[in-house]
């Protein structure tokens, strides 16, 4: 919740000396409210006023960064309970667990499998974000050896899971380990863990036994001077976790309850990997900024990452592709031409099916402001003259020898007018993209 200029003004020294730049305290307050100035410019502001202003200006949920460089993960900094109110900002970091009870070869193999969890669909690349090395053996040396192997074989940021601060301290010093998330400060060890996290400048997870316990523990950790925290309320069942995560998010956003103003880490508990994936999908929906899970199968991770991607898209901006003549396969001047809109879901459904025909083809994506075929049509953004114009503009004539275009079946009504406007022969295609392969077989094979 940003403060108004007047609210800020009340906190300023009211000397009107102008040393901050603007001539008066009020003018300076206005610049501050507009985000055009920094409080540091006033040499006279009291410590108390500074603290009040900074905490009021702080986001309801702190931004926490794990790792460094291009693979680093940004978590938190969220402002909404519902995506339709604005948007969700920082995607849930999917984190895969590696136990130090595994053999070295097993750790290498598992790490490589995790590295391979990169998917391309609808023109986007989906990735998992981190590896959690767990001190399941209870042995510090084994933990250090496991972290060493993982760090050597993967560039992903790490979560270090151990209740032994010495084991974690050693693991942080391993080459390739960069600002890992330390898991976790508990009632038993928070003083040492917090000290360690401060010394090594690493983000710190705080684990309570329930919401009350978590809030007290966070206050103690903050009092020791640590501020980049990640919260674990200790819930280990689906229903409890949904309730706790919802409370944490609500308290942070609606009440600015400081102890809960941090990103949330979730742990799956289902043993069956398919059940586990279903469990994780609920944590993606309900506010987890990081989920530590076990399955590393592509078939399990892809649906989960797709849901995450969908949930975190900006509801205000339809996702769209470029208006151009897209090529699918090794096109020639004889290749068929399909017409569709530039709404990315529409475009990629068509592209996927055209690819499946195994006949190299062109797809002309008409800019409809990212609307689907029917919506664009009813909005007047997918009309015969417009389509003909785009065909001309993109030089379709020079690209192909024939004069045939395939029009989406949903707008079959446009075909006569389009033939007139373009002078091309219009073939009415199927209403659903899924029927394109059968259609292509009869028309182009």
């Amino acid at each position: 919740m940003a403060l108004t200029g007047l609210e800020i003004y009340k906190q300023l020294p009211k000397k009107n000396c102008g040393e901050c730049g603007p001539p008066t305290c009020l003018a300076f307050a206005m610049s501050l409210a507009g985000g055009k100035a920094s409080l540091d410019s006033c040499p006279y502001v009291s410590d108390e006023a500074r603290a009040t202003l900074e905490s009021a200006a702080a986001p309801p949920i702190a931004k926490v960064i794990v790792g460094a460089g291009e693979n680093s993960i940004t978590m938190g900094d969220e402002t909404e309970l519902f995506r339709h109110d604005k948007k969700f900002y920082h995607e849930t970091a999917i984190t895969l667990r590696v136990s130090d009870a595994l053999s070295d070869e097993e750790i290498v193999a598992r790490t490589q499998k995790i590295n391979d969890l990169v998917f391309v669909r609808v023109g986007l690349e989906y990735r998992v974000q981190a590896i959690a090395v767990e001190n399941a053996s209870g042995d510090a040396d084994k933990f250090v050896a496991a972290v060493t192997t993982v760090a050597k074989n993967s560039g992903l940021p790490l979560v270090l899971i151990s209740d032994n601060p010495d084991a974690i301290a050693k693991a942080i010093d391993i080459e390739g380990v960069n600002k890992p998330l330390i898991y976790a400060a508990t009632n038993d060890n928070y003083e040492t863990m917090t000290k360690l996290a401060i010394e090594r400048n690493c983000p710190l997870a705080v684990k309570g036994d329930n919401l009350d316990d978590l809030a007290s523990l966070v206050e103690k950790v903050v009092a020791l001077g640590k501020k980049d925290l990640v919260l674990d309320p200790g819930a280990r069942s689906l229903s409890r976790a949904i309730a706790d995560f919802t409370q944490i998010r609500r308290q942070a956003i609606k009440k600015k309850f400081r102890p809960f103003g941090y990103p949330i880490i979730a742990f799956t508990t289902a043993e069956d990997p398919l059940e586990e994936t279903a469990e994780a999908s609920a944590y993606v929906s309900k506010y987890a900024s990081m989920i530590v899970m076990n399955t590393v199968e592509k078939a399990h991770i892809l649906p989960l990452l797709s849901w995450r991607q969908n949930l975190y898209t900006d509801p205000q901006v339809p996702i769209r592709v470029e208006e151009k003549l897209h090529e699918v396969g090794n096109v020639t001047p004889d290749s068929p031409v399909y017409i569709t809109t530039n709404f990315s879901l529409t475009y990629y459904s068509v592209e996927g099916e055209v690819e499946a025909t195994k006949i190299p083809s062109y797809i002309l994506a008409v800019d409809t402001d990212g609307l689907s075929v029917l919506t664009a049509y009813s909005d007047g953004k997918f009309e015969a003259d417009k389509i003909a114009g785009v065909m001309k503009k993109l030089g379709l004539e020079e690209k192909v020898n024939h004069r045939n275009i395939v029009l989406p079946g949903l707008v079959a009504v446009l075909s006569g007018k389009l033939e007139e406007e373009s002078g091309w022969n219009v073939i009415v295609g199927p209403r659903e993209a899924s029927a394109i392969p059968a259609f292509a077989k009869t028309h182009f094979a």
Binding site: A243, L274, P315
Partner: protein, 323 residues
């Protein structure tokens, strides 16, 4: 430190809709299914009552559907016999309801006569004790004729019929009124049309407690987030007292999932996507679990393993999380 739990007070709740009628109630079902009644956001047991658990229906068709092999192999022994197919869905795969789609009535799918379809419905009713959800073949003219006849032939069973749409709701609404069934009001991913259609239907005097809404979903990866946000907005509206958005929600999860290439492409065709069957199962499951968090009450599904996963997931979500 005691954290003061934040509880949102709702002004209203989702109406309860009961599907099916037992012998005592004038039907032939062994039990009825009630959905809705929520007085809080999904699974927020800590601030309201989640009266009835969401339910799962398995889809049965009156003709052999062109489905992917990873689905049809579970039904291969019964897929040409709707009654036996339905029985298998209930007895082996744990379907709470049967979702019967009369696709064979479509002029392009064999153009089955109304009488033939009525016979199929009766066969399915005789084979299972659970209530049915019955939809037509998506040919407006045929559906009007067909569904009216089926509604009449099943009078007293208190089934759920779909789909009423903004341009075509009168004949189905009238049939549901006269023969005492429930109706699915389907709107195209648009909250205003959703509301408008409910108003139109209730103006024909069908009580709100007999309407289920289908605001249309996009599949996972294909616009599911639009549906998710519409459902969240509708449910928030319902809890604040907006009666015309308050009905329980049904979602065509199986249909939307199994037409995607993510659910069906073989591992050979795209090795980087992994095992095809588990991917398909989870594509459908994730679509369902995502929408459950937005307030869906009835899930229409296809893969038996997805159904098992989703039912387990619902069990876990129905455990009280009160503080």
């Amino acid at each position: 430190m005691a954290v003061e739990i934040l509880r949102e007070k709702s002004r209203a709740s989702v109406p309860e809709v009961t599907i099916g009628a037992t012998k005592e109630e004038g039907g032939t079902r062994t039990h009825t299914i009630t959905v809705g009644g929520d007085s809080a956001l999904p699974f927020h047991h800590f601030e309201g009552e989640i009266k009835n658990r969401p339910v799962v229906a398995l889809e049965v068709q009156d003709i052999v559907p062109q489905w992917h092999e990873n689905l049809t192999k579970y039904y291969s022994d019964v897929i040409d016999n709707p009654g036996q197919w339905a029985k298998k869905c209930v007895e082996e795969y744990g379907a709470d309801l049967i979702y019967l789609k009369l696709n064979g009535a479509h002029p392009d799918n064999g153009n089955k006569s109304v009488e033939e379809c009525v016979a199929v419905v009766k066969d399915v009713l005789a084979s299972v004790g659970v209530p049915l959800i019955i939809v037509g073949c998506d040919d407006e003219q045929k559906d009007n004729e067909l569904l009216v006849a089926v509604a009449e032939a099943t009078a007293g069973e208190n089934l759920l019929f779909g789909n009423a749409e903004q341009t075509n709701y009168k004949s189905l609404t009238a049939a549901c009124m006269v023969h005492k069934h429930n109706i699915i009001a389907r709107s195209p991913l648009d909250i205003n049309i959703c509301k408008q259609l409910n108003i139109l239907i209730s103006e024909m005097n069908l009580p709100l407690s007999r309407i289920i809404i289908d605001p249309t979903i996009g599949g996972l990866g294909y616009g599911i987030e639009y549906a998710y946000s519409i459902l969240e907005r509708a449910r928030l509206g319902a809890l604040q007292g907006d009666k015309m958005l308050s009905m329980p929600v049904i979602a065509t999860v199986g249909y939307e999932s199994w037409r995607t290439k993510e659910a069906t492409l073989s591992e050979e065709e795209n090795p980087s996507w992994g095992d095809a069957e588990e991917r398909g199962i989870l594509w459908e499951t994730t679509c369902a679990t995502a929408l459950l968090q937005a307030g869906v009450n009835i899930l229409l599904m296809r893969h038996p393993k997805s159904v098992a996963l989703v039912k387990k997931h619902i069990d876990d979500l129905m455990v009280s999380n009160n503080y």
